[in-house]
Symmetry: C2
Subunit: 202 residues, 2 copies
């Protein structure tokens, strides 16, 4: 989660305000795209002062990334599962693909955020930079020391490239053999690739 700058306003309303802002931002980014959404319009829809948005999220880009980030408890869940998999000497990359596809399939709000994030990043070069930071950070956070240490930056980039291509093929372009495959099938085709990228010889 994005840390608010400085000391956040305390009290029971703070978290509610923060969530209200993120919800309004998601709606407006989806309706109008990144460029045409203003901080002021988000403030109006959320019923808060625009200064509060700046306080919590800094810039509009910071707001976008916070709004489209998957809920932290879910990524923590994936991380926990992967650690177990390795403890049982299972294949981390295979399990990662299974877990991520299951997350997308079972949590439409996570899937929608991921699709929105890809769409926005692809048409706006500034957002693309923030996308890089967010996605690489998220993957490193989930995987951490489960990645083989040599060439680890390259390993993460390769895993992201395949996972992003998978998301596009399954949900956006909807190539039938990928759109219709089960999480288990994708774990055995695409998962083996991601496992090699994360832990194998390159």
């Amino acid at each position: 989660m994005s840390r608010p700058r400085g000391r956040p306003p305390g009290g029971p309303g703070a978290e509610r305000n923060r969530e209200g802002i993120l919800g309004a931002a998601r709606e407006l980014f989806a309706e109008k795209g990144f460029e045409r959404t203003t901080m002021r319009s988000v403030a109006t829809r959320a019923g808060v002062d625009a200064a509060l948005i700046h306080h919590y999220f800094g810039t509009k880009r910071g707001l976008l990334l916070a709004a489209l980030r998957p809920p932290e408890d879910l990524t923590t869940d994936v991380r926990r599962r992967l650690v177990e998999v390795r403890a049982g000497s299972g294949e981390v990359g295979v399990e990662l693909v299974r877990a991520v596809v299951t997350l997308w399939d079972e949590h439409p709000e996570v899937r929608h955020r991921m699709i929105a994030l890809i769409r926005v990043a692809l048409v706006d070069d500034d957002v693309a930079e923030s996308f890089r930071t967010l996605v690489v950070g998220m993957v490193s956070g989930m995987l951490g020391d489960l990645i083989r240490p040599d060439r680890s930056e390259e390993r993460i980039a390769l895993a992201v490239s395949q996972t992003m291509g998978l998301a596009m093929s399954r949900f956006i372009i909807a190539l039938p053999p990928i759109a219709e495959a089960s999480a288990d099938e994708l774990a055995s085709t695409v998962g083996v690739t991601v496992h090699r990228y994360l832990t194998g010889d390159l």
Copy 2:
């Protein structure tokens, strides 16, 4: 190349008209996006009658796909190289990635069309359907019997998913380890994956 419907107007001006229409379409799709480009505006810019565009390309979607398709002589070139590679018992998938990355790097107009195609397909569901047909057709055309015959539709989809993810990571999101890698480096990391998808055990 898209075949004109019925009998094309003959004479030396026909090919020039066709190219003029495609050039005008590329400019307008890039400037205004798919939705806001009209057949009439393409006709005006190309200096032809709108009926001629319908004659050559059918619908606006047909025009888009013809405009963004890579030049046929280049894909034929890639196909020829892949056939040679297999004759020398080289790895087709590895060589495919090397050839495609080289094509993108050395021919900015091919790279731009590919990026535009991905961007348009990602924001417009109707175009996504045509994108599927175009890309799967192009890949089948280039690869043909170089693909292992069992599960071939799935193999193509997997190869497309990784190649699309590679294009996004290299040119749009610009993940440094992928954006800065040479065609040879990507052939040995990503190419091995594509080779497995096309010819290996899934």
